[in-house]
C-alpha cells in the first residue's frame, strides 16, 4: 500500500507539474486552442454532410455541399489566422496580434500560388481547406514565432519620440512586406502543399497502421487519465482524421471503397469512445450499481453526461484520473477496444465510414449507425459494450472494495 500511495503522490506532484509546464508553452497552446475555436466551422460542414447522407434515402432533398465548401472547406485560412494570433496573445503582444493573423493568411494564400484568370482569383480549393491544414499549421507556428520575436525585439529605440501607433505601423509594414515577398518566391518555386504531404505521408502512413492507430488512441487515453488534457496530440490526430475522412469521401465519390480507418467518425462517433474517451459508459453503469454510496451518487449524477459522451464527471468523480487501479483498467480498455475495432474494419466485416460528420456528443449507438448506415456496426458496438463492461469489472470491484473500507472506517 505504501508503494501505491507513493505512486499516487508522484503522479499528482512532480509528474503533473512537469507535464503542465510542457503543455503550457504558447505553441502547443495555440494548436489546441485553434481546433477548439474553429470547431463550429467544422461542425457546420459536418451538418451539411450529414444532411447530404439523407439524400441517399430521400432523393429530392437539396444538395448542401456548398455549405461544407464555405465552412470546413476554408479551414486552412481560419487556422492560418488563429494560430499566430493565439501565440501573440500568449506572449502579451496584444497590439500586433490581429495583423499577425492577417499576415499569416496572406502568407498561406501566397504559398498556394494562385492564378489570376479573367479577373478571378483561382486558388486550389484543397489548399485553403482540408488539404492545406498541415501547411496552415506550420505557417501559423512559424509566423507566430517570427512575428513575436520581431515585435518583442522591436525596430525603434524604447524612448523614441514617435507615437506607439506609428511605431507599430512601421514595424508591421516592414515585416509583412518581407514575409509576403518571401512567400511569393517560395510559392512560385515549390508546391509547398504537395511537399508537406510528402513529408507527412510517412507519419500519416504510420498513423494509418494498426500500431499507429492504437498508439494515437492510447496516448490520448494516457494523457487523460494522468490528468492532462487529452487535447495534447489532438492537432496531429485531428489533422490525420480529417485527411482520412476526406480521402474516404473522395474514394466513394469515385465509386471505390473507403480504406482509411483512423477517422473521428469511426473512433469517436462509432466504436472506440462509448461514453467518451476510454469507453466509460459501461463503467458509469457499474458505478450506479455500486454498493458504495459515494460512488453510486456520482454515477447517477454523471450518467446524463456519459450518454452524450462527456466523461469528465466519471473520470474526475470515481475518479479514474490519477487513480492507479482504475488507470490500469482504463488503459486495458484503451488497448483492447481499438485493437478489436481495427481488426474488424480491416477484415471488412463492417463498412468504413466515409462521410465527414465529427459530432462526438451524439449518443451512441445512434451516431454509430449514422456514420456508416451499416447495421453490422451496431452488432460490433454491442459486443464492445459488453466486453468493456467485463474488462472494467475486476478493476472497479478492487477500487470499490477500497472505497467501502474507507467508508466503513469513517
Amino acid at each position: 500500500m505504501k508503494f501505491y500511495s507513493k505512486l499516487q503522490d508522484w503522479l499528482e506532484g512532480p509528474f503533473s507539474q512537469k507535464m503542465q509546464k510542457f503543455m503550457q508553452n504558447p505553441y502547443m497552446h495555440a494548436l489546441q486552442v485553434c481546433f477548439t475555436i474553429i470547431l463550429p466551422m467544422i461542425m457546420v460542414g459536418s451538418l451539411a454532410s450529414l444532411f447530404n447522407t439523407f439524400r441517399n434515402f430521400v432523393s429530392w432533398l437539396p444538395d448542401l455541399s456548398l455549405i461544407n465548401s464555405f465552412s470546413f472547406g476554408l479551414i486552412s485560412i481560419f487556422m492560418a489566422f488563429l494560430i499566430p494570433y493565439t501565440i501573440m496573445e500568449s506572449k502579451k503582444l496584444q497590439k500586433q496580434k490581429m495583423i499577425t493573423g492577417f499576415a499569416s493568411v496572406s502568407a498561406l494564400i501566397a504559398l498556394a500560388n494562385p492564378q489570376y484568370v479573367d479577373g478571378n482569383l483561382v486558388v486550389n480549393a484543397g489548399y485553403v481547406g482540408t488539404s492545406g491544414m498541415t501547411v496552415a499549421m506550420v505557417v501559423g507556428l512559424l509566423v507566430g514565432w517570427l512575428f513575436s520575436t520581431y515585435f518583442k525585439h522591436g525596430l525603434f529605440k524604447k524612448d523614441s519620440s514617435l507615437p506607439t501607433v506609428v511605431v507599430v505601423w512601421f514595424e508591421s509594414i516592414l515585416i509583412i512586406f518581407v514575409l509576403i515577398l518571401a512567400c511569393i518566391f517560395i510559392g512560385q518555386a515549390v508546391d509547398l502543399f504537395s511537399l508537406m504531404e510528402v513529408v507527412f505521408r510517412p507519419l500519416a502512413n504510420i498513423g494509418n497502421t494498426y500500431l499507429g492507430f492504437l498508439l494515437l488512441y492510447m496516448i490520448m487515453a494516457l494523457c487523460y487519465c494522468c490528468g492532462l488534457s487529452a487535447w495534447t496530440i489532438w492537432p496531429i490526430v485531428c489533422a490525420l482524421y480529417l485527411t482520412n475522412i476526406a480521402a474516404n469521401a473522395a474514394a466513394v465519390a469515385a465509386g471505390q471503397s473507403p480504406v482509411y480507418i483512423a477517422t473521428d467518425e469511426l473512433v469517436f462517433m462509432g466504436w472506440c469512445c462509448l461514453g467518451g474517451l476510454g469507453c466509460t459508459l459501461p463503467l458509469n453503469i457499474l458505478m450506479i450499481r455500486s454498493k458504495s454510496k459515494k460512488i453510486s451518487t456520482i454515477g447517477k449524477a454523471a450518467i446524463a453526461s456519459s450518454i452524450f459522451n462527456i466523461n469528465e464527471p466519471v473520470m474526475y468523480g470515481l475518479p479514474v484520473v490519477l487513480n492507479p487501479v482504475m488507470m490500469l483498467g482504463y488503459m486495458a480498455v484503451s488497448f483492447i477496444v481499438p485493437t478489436i475495432t481495427y481488426i474488424v474494419f480491416k477484415l471488412g466485416l463492417v463498412s468504413i465510414p466515409a462521410v465527414a460528420m465529427m459530432m462526438n456528443f451524439l449518443p451512441q449507438p445512434i451516431s454509430t449507425f449514422m456514420v456508416n448506415s451499416d447495421f453490422r456496426g451496431i452488432i460490433l458496438w454491442a459486443v464492445l459494450f459488453v466486453l468493456t463492461y467485463f474488462i472494467y469489472l475486476p478493476f472497479f470491484k478492487a477500487y470499490e472494495k477500497q472505497e467501502l473500507e474507507n467508508e466503513q472506517e469513517a
Partner: protein
Amino acid sequence: MRILFICGNGVSSGMIAARTGKAGKAQGYDVETEAYSYTELSEVIDDFDVVLAAPQMKCNEEMISETCQEHGKKYALIDNYAFSTLDGAKCFETAKSLI
C-alpha cells in the same frame, strides 16, 4: 453576481454552471452563470466577478491564475466530488467565499 465556469470546451462545465445558478437563486441571490472554454478566458473574464474552473483544468492552472491576476479576479478549482455530483450549492458557496 456573475460566475464564470471554464473547462476544456465549455460543455462539461455547462451543467454545473446551470446547477450553481439555480442554487444561488434559491438562496435569494441575483446570480448569473456561464460556461466557456478556457481558451476564451482572457476574452470574457471582464464580464464576470469570479472564475470557477473544472477539475481537469488543473493542468492549465498556471495560465488561468495569470489571467485572473491580470484582470483582478479571483478563481478556484472546483472540487472533484462537487463537480461530478453536480453539487451546485457547494460551488455557489465556493464562489461566494471568493468575492
